[in-house]
């Protein structure tokens, strides 16, 4: 537990000091939403909740990839990842700390992305956004779990940054579909029962990849 706290505190301290990940994630989310707004409806017609939800999840995926990659990249500087591997910290605790750090960076970026989505897609600031929060949180948690594991693998190989999206996006598709459907329904004011099954899929995805990441991280991060 002490190792988990030490690694998480260190990651948060580094981020508070430099803001590298959060700024990059927010900027990327902004860029993606701007591009999608113009690409989907350049003349400013009616923007529906489903389109807004889709745009938000595209921003979530790409921001998540940047966040997870950066969280692992900071460990590659000066060989710090080797120090962590040689230290007494449990590999599962190390995974949990890196995952939680990536999730926090992603959550901050997603909060900013939701605000931008409301502005760009002419939505209202009302209670529907509160219904969106747990859906986005589940998506961000699942994607952090998946991307942290994959970033540990891709960080070991040359051009691994390119490999991460190739691995992560196809694996995230089930959660992406569920997340977009649930978010669209939540934003359009549908009752909870109408999208409960999509939430269940998101929860299942999170459980699967949290467990997989916890069990496989030790092998993913070990050097040859």
């Amino acid at each position: 537990m002490a190792g988990f706290v030490a690694v998480l505190r260190k990651d948060l301290r580094l981020e508070l000091r430099t803001g590298e990940s959060t700024i990059a994630l927010v900027a990327l989310s902004l860029l993606i939403l701007v591009v999608l707004v113009f690409a989907l409806d350049p003349v400013g017609g009616v923007r529906d909740a489903a389109t807004a939800a889709g745009a938000l999840w595209v921003a979530l995926i790409f921001a998540g990839m940047v966040g997870s990659t950066r969280a692992m990249l900071s460990e590659r500087d000066h060989g710090c990842i080797r120090a962590l591997l040689l230290s007494p910290i449990d590999r599962g605790a190390l995974y949990a700390a890196k995952l939680l750090a990536a999730f926090i960076f992603m959550a901050v970026a997603e909060a900013a992305a939701v605000l931008l989505m409301v502005l760009f897609f002419n939505l209202d600031f009302d209670s529907r956004l509160l219904r969106l929060a747990p859906i986005i949180a589940l998506g961000a948690l699942g994607f952090s779990a998946l991307a942290t594991l994959l970033a540990a693998i891709s960080g070991r190989i040359r051009a691994g940054d390119l490999l991460l999206p190739l691995l992560a996006v196809p694996m995230f598709v089930p959660a992406l579909i569920a997340g977009v459907k649930a978010s669209g329904a939540a934003l359009s004011g549908a009752p909870f029962d109408a999208f409960a099954q999509w939430i269940k899929i998101l929860v299942a995805f999170d459980v699967i990849f949290l467990t997989t990441g916890y069990l496989l991280f030790e092998h993913a991060i070990a050097e040859d």
Binding site: R9, R82, L86, P88
Partner: protein
């Protein structure tokens, strides 16, 4: 009766592709013993340290620390072991104090709040305790690396060219840290380009030549090293 070796390599071979780097390395280091391994650039010194630490898997053979494979050490054994390599393992955007505090927390160093300033003072970096490591010179970074490794009071210490980038004071610092470590029966393996003499310390001297480890108590040093020692 001799103490059991804390560092033990048996028949270590390492190849990268078809290129052999280390061939049949046998090395045993007991508590309170320091082994110095010398060799030219590319001789395989750093690879040997990585294998002993478990950072890299041998092609064949076995590297053991505390009687267990160094690739599968448990947390308790990892807590008793420290390494100094060409990479500092320091976070450039953390200060010297924050870096040591992080490693102190990670290793569960007792009373780390007091131990950290003591070690910063010990390695002569009190003036830069709250400066980010990214502004440090190579020598300052090496001093902080030594503090990072020694503050955990390891029972096994692996050092890859610890004298690199250090001035005369820095070399004296390494010497005093090594003396203390040996005095509390730490097993040490360190590498260097050429033999280094330290007052009050006697090393078991080995030389790596073309991937083979030669015990200089039984086999003579290469001519160039012999000249440096006698010169």
């Amino acid at each position: 009766m001799m103490d059991a070796a804390l560092i033990d390599a048996r028949g270590l071979n390492k190849s990268f592709g078809t290129i052999p780097i280390l061939r049949g390395i046998d090395l045993s280091v007991a508590p309170g013993v320091a082994a110095m391994i010398i060799g030219r650039n590319g001789a395989g010194k750093s690879t040997l340290i990585r294998l002993l630490a478990g950072l890299s898997a041998p092609t064949t053979g076995e590297a053991m620390l505390f009687g267990a494979s160094s690739r599968t050490l448990d947390a308790a054994s990892r807590r008793r072991f420290a390494i100094v390599t060409h990479q500092s393992f320091l976070y450039p955007n953390l200060t010297a104090r924050e870096n040591l505090q992080f490693y102190g927390d990670l290793y569960g160093v007792p009373d780390s709040l007091n131990a950290v300033p003591k070690w910063i003072e010990r390695v002569g970096l009190a003036f830069a305790a709250d400066t980010r490591v990214r502004t440090f010179s190579r020598g300052m970074e090496q001093r902080l690396t030594l503090a990072r490794a020694m503050m955990t009071r390891p029972d096994v210490l692996l050092m890859d060219e610890p004298f690199a980038a250090l001035d005369a004071d820095g070399v004296a610092l390494v010497a005093s840290l090594l003396r203390e470590a040996i005095a509390r029966r730490c097993a040490v393996v360190l590498t260097a380009h050429q033999p280094v003499a330290i007052d009050g310390l006697k090393f078991d001297l080995y030389e790596i030549v073309r991937g083979r480890l030669l015990d200089t108590s039984r086999e003579p040093l290469a001519a160039s090293f012999r000249a440096q020692q006698t010169g």
